[in-house]
């Protein structure tokens, strides 16, 4: 339902129901880094006890990781470990993970947050330096390998960080903070180039 609305692009006809993703299409290119807003995706915030994890993994089609700071990805769907019983599931293939969880009888809480978050891709050799402009975590490949994911902070806001490649990160932030985060990363990218 929300998915169909999110894909809608006709602004004039039905302005009251139109979903307008924040910062659509914005991007900045510095010498060593590209900061770019990613297209909308389906997301859920998932809380579940250990006993429910196998059933939920099966329904979602991706094994929920149980190790801190890790993620698992399969078929355009990524599950990020956020806490001991908490995951962020992002689907970029257009399928709704909320619907997949609905049929699971095992105890869990799945909340749709597709429109709460904005994703920003930071790519290039200076990607880690760009994020480190406001994020205190160690982003070297030893400490934060490809696939590592963590909730952390960037400047004054909370973000969820996922390393998608050696020189690429996905930054998830709340929609209302997205302008701040994008500007912060843009400024950081200029410093990273230096």
């Amino acid at each position: 339902m929300a998915k169909a609305a999110a894909r809608k692009t006709a602004p004039a006809a039905t302005p009251s129901v139109e979903r307008r993703p924040a910062l659509t299409g914005r991007s900045t290119t510095a010498a060593a880094v590209k900061v770019e807003v990613l297209p909308p995706a389906e997301r859920i915030s998932l809380r579940a006890p250990e006993a429910s994890v196998p059933a939920l993994s099966k329904a979602l089609g991706v094994t929920l990781p149980n190790k801190p700071k890790t993620s698992a990805s399969k078929g355009g769907r990524t599950a990020l470990w956020l806490g001991p019983d908490e995951w962020l599931v992002i689907d970029e293939a257009g399928n709704d993970p909320l619907a997949d969880c609905a049929g699971v009888a095992a105890l869990h809480s799945a909340v749709g947050i597709s429109h709460r978050n904005i994703a920003i891709a930071v790519t290039g050799v200076g990607a880690a330096a760009t994020i480190n402009a406001g994020c205190p975590q160690d982003l070297s490949l030893d400490a934060f390998p490809v696939g590592a994911a963590s909730r952390t902070i960037l400047g004054k806001t909370e973000i969820v960080l996922l390393r998608t490649a050696a020189d690429a990160f996905r930054v998830e932030c709340w929609r209302s903070f997205s302008d701040y985060v994008f500007t912060f990363l843009s400024e950081g990218s200029r410093d990273a180039a230096a």
């Binding site: 801190p68 700071k69 956020l82 001991p84 908490e86 205190p136 975590q137 963590s150 909730r151 952390t152």
Partner: protein, 98 residues
């Protein structure tokens, strides 16, 4: 910047991700209505505030978001150890002669 070990994330993380949440191991009475005013005052307001080793609750606010307990020296601001919420007070502290 201090590095604090989160027992749930199993690694040291920068202090900016954490919040202090007051003194640890303060048990709430199972019969709160039956508490005398003096006992309630002790439970609710009185904290040990020691110079030296203190047991505190901390929260990994911008990380796994879990509460845990930490042992810290208030003089040096050094974290001696951290352990999961619900675990008993450690009887022996590493690196502390006592």
């Amino acid at each position: 910047m201090l590095l604090i070990r989160c027992p749930y994330c199993e690694e040291e993380r920068p202090e900016l991700e954490f919040r202090n949440a007051g003194e640890a191991h303060i048990a709430r009475s199972a019969n709160m209505a039956g508490e005398t005013d003096d006992d309630f005052e002790k439970f609710f307001f009185i904290r040990s505030n020691p110079k030296g080793i203190i047991y505190e609750r901390w929260r990994h606010m911008h990380g796994c978001a879990r509460f845990f307990n930490a042992v810290r020296d208030t003089v040096t601001d050094k974290f001696i150890m951290t352990y999961k919420a619900g675990e008993p007070k450690p009887s022996k502290l590493p690196g502390v002669g006592k």
